[in-house]
């Protein structure tokens, strides 16, 4: 790959990861596989937050599950702290899992309704650290509850007694109690109201600072991502369109898809809204199982050429980041020339 190895080894290295789903057969032979994630590579440094953004169906969650090996990748490798996860036995993989934990989107549905907060948070401890005594476990649970802004007095309550924001804190506590190196947050604030969403985002920002944990933050919401990311990965139909430092991508997006996405985000600014340009796409994401030779975005891209439809552009260095486009930085219609 064109990515140069960093000075220190990255905490997480994903190379050429693909997750394809078989889709059964028709009378005339097998259906083409659904390419949910296709040849994705990236690094994640210690303490860094990389956000994965894209529309629904872009493969964000599948990518996360492939990285965590909750799904078996079709191709490619994932290294966590230098250890290749694909080469591990079941027992070794289970051991490695304590270093990588997941936070889910639906805070209530991801907690067992019949277990108390204490049972929910201490279960990972029982699995990974069976040698701990009951008292030690209780202490760890109380510590982590305080760290996420829950009162340890609430330990004997059940999930339904909590609001969405508090339930998400329980989910975060459960993920953090093992002191993982890698936290994968899959749309962790999408189900929350704005006032509560801000609380949870700030909590995640604090955790990142205090615990030096690395985070993969998956979201469809570019405004949310803006407040939490160091780096940004823009995914489209399972392929990386643009990856680089979040600030520079927000300021100067180079891939047409990134430009379209950013232009579509509503701004809290009434004056001048008539003149603000929102680039329309011709309808929704195409099917990820459709056969395509060229760039996945070519069918909706406002500046696609015949080359784009025939040939997939490689992810190449451009303006301090990597862009997969034959014409990186190309101005879209109506856009001010940079």
């Amino acid at each position: 790959m064109s990515e140069a190895p960093s000075k220190t080894n990255p905490l997480l290295k994903v190379s050429n990861l693909s997750v394809h789903f078989k889709q059964g057969r028709t009378l005339f032979g097998p259906r083409p596989a659904l390419r949910a994630v296709d040849d994705v590579s990236f690094d994640l440094a210690e303490g860094e937050t990389l956000s994965i953004v894209g529309e629904s169906g872009s493969g964000k969650s599948t990518l996360a599950r492939g990285v965590l090996r909750l799904l078996k990748p079709t191709k490619g490798q994932v290294w966590l702290e230098g250890q290749e996860l694909g080469g591990l036995s079941g027992e070794q993989l289970r051991k490695a899992r304590r270093h990588m934990q997941l936070i889910f989107q639906d805070p209530i549905a991801s907690l067992s309704p019949r277990r108390t907060v204490e049972q929910i948070i201490s279960e990972p401890l029982q699995t990974h650290y069976p040698q701990l005594s009951g008292a030690e476990r209780r202490e760890k649970v109380a510590d982590i509850m305080r760290a996420v802004g829950l009162l340890p007095d609430m330990r004997n309550r059940y999930p339904h007694e909590f609001s969405g924001g508090q339930a998400q804190r329980i989910g975060i506590a459960r993920a953090l109690v093992l002191e993982p190196r890698l936290l994968v947050a899959d749309e962790p604030v999408s189900a929350l109201d704005v006032s509560i969403q801000a609380q949870v985002l700030n909590l995640l920002a604090d955790i990142k600072q205090e615990r030096k944990v690395s985070m993969l933050f998956i979201s469809h919401d570019l405004s949310v991502v803006h407040h939490i990311s160091d780096r940004l990965l823009v995914l489209y139909l399972g392929q990386v369109m643009e990856i680089g430092h979040a600030k520079s991508i927000y300021e100067r997006p180079q891939h047409p898809y990134t430009k379209v996405l950013l232009s579509a985000v509503p701004r809290m600014q009434v004056v001048g809204r008539e003149k603000r340009r929102r680039i329309h796409l011709n309808d929704d994401l195409p099917s990820p199982s459709a056969k395509r030779a060229g760039c996945p975005f070519a069918s909706r891209c406002p500046v696609a050429t015949s080359q784009c439809k025939a040939e997939m552009p490689k992810l190449t260095d451009f303006e301090g980041r990597q862009v997969a486009c034959h014409f990186p930085g190309i101005a879209l219609e109506g856009e001010k020339a940079a």
Binding site: E55, I196, H226, S263, V265, V270, R278, D283, D284
Partner: protein, 335 residues
């Protein structure tokens, strides 16, 4: 000044539940003007949807409604269902968040669209109805409209289904369209398209739109006027420009500061979260619903009785005892 087309007068909606009365809406007085897009912003439980379900007669059976919703000289809340049927779907239409719960999966789009049209005007011939439906589909930018017209809902993408809902709602050329979170389930690229279509249609047809949303960005992009709801009351109402340039109510200010923005400075990573939780509407606070979370609340005043919605300036109304909340919070922000 334009005239009100739909006027809510002291609307209250309470729901009887096994765990007690839920006081969802508590005295909303609000006018929808002719030819405007009125945004209703609020978080879950603020009463924003129920407020507009009431005039459509769509509240659950356990609801008790008082007050008035005046349209065309009639109080809609007092009408019998048969009488209301002459108004809803023709003069006032509604679009919901999830198109699939409104569409019948067993019936073709053609059947479902024409039903609404011919129910209200049986004199229309089938051919004429088809023509109008296909033209409407084309108007909401559904490509290949005459083919889509013959298909079933599951064959359409999410964005197309929502455009279909808008097309169906507009078939009878209503004067009022109530859109309840019409873009919440959609991706941003599709959301931008639907908001643009709504804005164009409003201008083209001179109708009024109520746009209910939790997203301040959507309001800023689309609406002429805005009402901010919290705890079942309107806390602030103003022109969109007035609200975003000079928010008055502490809740509005807090909500704006808590909202992540793409255009913000990337260095400012922390958001100003609003502490605490929204009120439990089974036992709403006796005074201002925002009192327990408000940074400038006055004990002994704000927690006694809810503040009335009063004019602060031309077309700008605010329900807060603290008239200088804006200055205080602005200064605090810069410290």
């Amino acid at each position: 000044m334009s005239n009100a087309i739909l006027s809510l007068r002291d609307l209250t909606i309470h729901f009887k539940t096994p765990d007690g009365m839920v006081k969802a809406v508590n005295g909303v007085t609000l006018d929808l003007q002719e030819q405007e897009i009125l945004g209703i912003v609020g978080e879950s439980g603020s009463g924003k949807s129920q407020t507009w379900m009431a005039p459509m007669g769509l509240l659950a059976d356990n609801a008790t409604v008082t007050g008035q919703a005046v349209f065309d000289g009639q109080n809609l809340l007092a009408l019998k269902p048969q009488e209301l049927n002459k108004i809803r779907g023709t003069k006032i239409s509604m679009v919901f968040q999830d198109p699939m719960t409104c569409l019948n999966p067993y019936l073709s789009i053609a059947v479902q669209m024409m039903e609404g049209l011919r129910f209200h005007d049986p004199s229309i011939s089938k051919r004429e109805a088809e023509k109008r439906c296909v033209a409407m589909l084309e108007r909401v930018a559904i490509p290949d409209a005459s083919r889509r017209f013959r298909q079933y809902p599951h064959e359409l993408s999410g964005g197309m289904r929502q455009r279909l809902m808008i097309a169906m709602a507009l078939l009878n050329d209503p004067q009022v369209l109530i859109a309840d979170e019409p873009t919440t389930a959609l991706d941003v690229t599709i959301q931008a398209q639907i908001l643009d279509i709504l804005r164009e249609l409003q201008r083209e047809r001179g109708m009024s739109i109520v746009l209910i949303t939790h997203d301040l960005g959507v309001v800023a992009e689309t609406c002429d006027r805005v009402a901010v709801m919290y705890g079942g009351r309107v806390q602030e109402a103003a022109t969109a420009q007035g609200l975003f340039e000079s928010p008055q109510h502490p809740y509005t200010i807090a909500l704006m500061q808590a909202t992540p923005r793409v255009e913000a400075d990337a260095e400012t990573q922390r958001l100003a979260a609003i502490p605490g939780q929204p009120p439990n509407m089974r036992v709403p606070p006796p005074g201002c619903a925002f009192f327990p979370r408000c940074p400038v609340a006055i004990k002994g005043t704000c927690d006694v009785s809810p503040p009335p919605l009063e004019a602060r300036r031309d077309q700008h109304f605010c329900a807060c005892y603290k008239s200088d909340a804006q200055q205080i919070l602005k200064e605090a922000e810069h410290v």
